[in-house]
């Protein structure tokens, strides 16, 4: 009998990843701390740059400096969640596909989805940005004088989940190319996500429509922080509904799921003509 995937089982799988992450932190503390600090500095330098511009010019495109800070806090939370759950190449899946390493996942008695959702969890070495995001968010909320209710917190959690769904769906969509061109597309997920990450921290308010619309559709950088932040502040931009990010995430996830499954079928039918022995685990 196959064991059922219950909530407890998921927690146990996350817990073993967390335990290994803590073990790594305590064992190679110097290197781990260096990595954590580098991650935080890298992200903070991006968001603080945008924030300082908004302070200097009294806001950006109709958003006040405090609203920009709120958006930066949201962006930092997204980065934090991304690093916390995606440190095992499970989001940058093109690396695993391109290196012919999916076979390591096939031999585990777990659904692929569960393996991928739990195997990259590293709350200790990857939680720094998330913690900074929380601090920035509290600070921004205080400066904006927002009244925080349970409903608002749930909305924040929902928008973060939606943003993550967009990131993962996009990563899996472009990563599907690695099924067909393993060598050329091994790093395509990293290029697609990190290559445009900087754009996702820039407030699009006040930009012309021909910039805003592509960044909310073709390249969803506007959905990474700008659009959800304005929704949480109670004024969704461009007259769009606050549920637009959710609809976008659902449609993109369905497309990505379909394309990824097709690629996976190709992989198990044709086999991988490449195997790289490194980098499928942390």
């Amino acid at each position: 009998m196959v064991d059922k995937i219950t909530f407890t089982r998921i927690i146990k799988l996350l817990a073993i990843s967390a335990k290994m992450d803590l073990a790594w932190l305590l064992r190679d503390t110097k290197y781990a701390l260096a990595g954590i600090i580098a991650d935080i500095i890298s992200n903070l330098s991006i968001v603080s740059g945008v924030f300082l511009i908004s302070v200097r010019f009294g806001g950006i495109g109709g958003m006040s400096a405090d609203e920009v800070l709120f958006m930066m806090a949201y962006s930092t939370l997204v980065t934090g969640i991304f690093i916390m759950f995606g440190s095992g190449n499970n989001i940058h899946i093109s690396r695993i596909i391109g290196r012919g390493q999916l076979e390591h996942l096939f031999t585990q008695p777990l659904p692929l989805k569960v393996q991928l959702a739990t195997c990259g969890f590293c709350p200790f070495t990857g939680g720094g940005n998330f913690a900074f995001g929380v601090i920035l968010m509290i600070n921004a909320v205080n400066r904006l004088g927002l009244r925080i209710s349970l409903g608002w917190l749930l909305s924040l959690a929902a928008y973060l989940l939606i943003t993550m769904a967009v990131i993962v769906a996009r990563a899996y969509l472009v990563s599907s190319m690695a099924f067909y061109a393993p060598v050329a597309a091994e790093e395509i997920s990293y290029t697609a996500i990190d290559g445009t990450w900087f754009m996702s921290t820039f407030p699009l308010s006040g930009m012309p429509l021909f910039v805003q619309i592509p960044l909310l559709t073709i390249l969803p950088e506007g959905l990474m922080a700008w659009f959800p932040s304005l929704c949480l502040l109670g004024r969704p931009p461009l007259g769009l509904s606050a549920v637009y990010p959710m609809l976008y995430a659902i449609i993109l996830s369905l497309i990505a799921g379909y394309i990824f499954r097709k690629g996976l079928n190709y992989y198990v039918s044709k086999g991988s003509n490449r195997y790289v022995p490194y980098g499928f685990r942390r």
Binding site: D3, W24, T107, P109
Partner: protein, 337 residues
């Protein structure tokens, strides 16, 4: 390891069955000329390679089977098909009465797979950490985990390795640790692809003895590929040979010897530099009064050989032994070319 009585309970139960399995791969072809590169842009040239062609065999539970063949014969492809990593182009595969394609998860809880050139160990963690990770992912009950850990630690002599980082293990140590990890969930079938690859004599011996033990005592079905035929003969009772994607031989090792003419080695030790001559035999070596001949018992029956030997003068010792399996296999491979 939890003792199984599968072979006692179901002596003829099938562990692995392949029915007319065919696996075809497509290879891109391109010559290096400018014309070839341009043609490739418009209409890429592809070549179909039949890795397996209508392969059918059945392996009973508790069997220890060697799966051999020359490079590119389809050994690794078969291993991948059995473990659900690849789908066949056509045909049916059943492992423990399950389809690797449709019941992957259930099958993986009963199957152990080890590829000699890959590791399942977490590189930047001590070996014991990988074992504990496996315990959670495979949902191994605590008593079974403890019992198996104790067993593999003792039999594979890995007690001193448990706290060592996987990245710091030698190849032999890593293979033992990988094998130990594979056994923690008490698999009913083990698939080993070149497990002795690169191992020294001692590490190889440990692995072979261990595999024989778990097959004999726990009834674990083992299918192993290797290029080292002497290892295979020592481990397995049955050999399945594959060539050009087809099963070319399925039987025991003695039967394999017979199809090459029952080649036998005769070693004669003589006194005073006497050089013996043996009818119908080929002299392979002659050094310090020890002369090794090869004779085909299919052409010279054992009675005739004994008579010929008794007629030789100056011989002080005679040894008759089977031809090394490596040589037999080489003859078989040559006959296939």
């Amino acid at each position: 390891m939890s003792v199984k009585v599968l072979t006692d309970t179901f002596p003829t139960a099938s562990a692995v069955s392949l029915y007319n399995v065919t696996k075809i791969f497509t290879q891109w072809q391109r010559d290096n000329s400018g014309k070839g590169i341009l043609r490739n842009l418009i209409k890429p040239e592809k070549k179909e390679i039949s890795a397996l062609s209508d392969v059918a065999f059945d392996i009973k539970q508790g069997e220890f089977v060697a799966y051999a063949g020359p490079n590119g014969a389809g050994k690794s492809t078969t291993m991948k098909l059995l473990s659900g990593m690849l789908l066949p182009t056509s045909g049916e595969i059943s492992v423990l009465s399950m389809s690797p394609q449709k019941q992957r998860r259930e099958l993986m809880s009963k199957l152990g797979v080890l590829f000699g050139n890959r590791t399942e160990l977490w590189w930047d963690h001590p070996v014991i950490q990988s074992f504990e990770w496996k315990k959670v992912v495979w949902n191994i009950p605590e008593p079974m985990y403890r019992e198996n850990l104790e067993m593999v630690t003792e039999l594979l002599d890995i007690g001193g390795l448990l706290k060592t980082f996987a990245r710091e293990l030698s190849l032999g140590q890593r293979m033992r640790a990988d094998l130990a990890m594979m056994l923690l969930h008490s698999p009913e079938i083990i698939l080993l692809d070149e497990p002795t690859l690169g191992l020294d004599v001692i590490a190889k011996r440990q692995m072979i003895n261990f595999l024989k033990k778990i097959n004999r005592e726990n009834g674990v079905t083992i299918i192993v590929t290797s290029h080292d035929m002497d290892d295979l003969e020592e481990m397995a009772q049955r050999i399945l040979m594959i060539s050009d994607g087809k099963v070319a031989y399925d039987g025991d090792f003695d039967g394999l010897r017979k199809i090459t003419g029952n080649l036998t080695r005769v070693v004669l030790t003589t006194e005073n530099g006497f050089m013996p001559k043996l009818q119908n035999a080929v002299l392979l070596s002659s050094e310090n009064g020890v002369h090794e001949f090869e004779i085909d018992l299919a052409k010279t029956p054992i009675k005739s050989l004994m008579r010929l030997l008794s007629e030789l003068n100056g011989v002080c010792d005679v040894e008759i032994k089977k031809a090394p399996i490596e040589q037999v296999i080489a003859s078989v491979y040559s006959s296939w070319e």
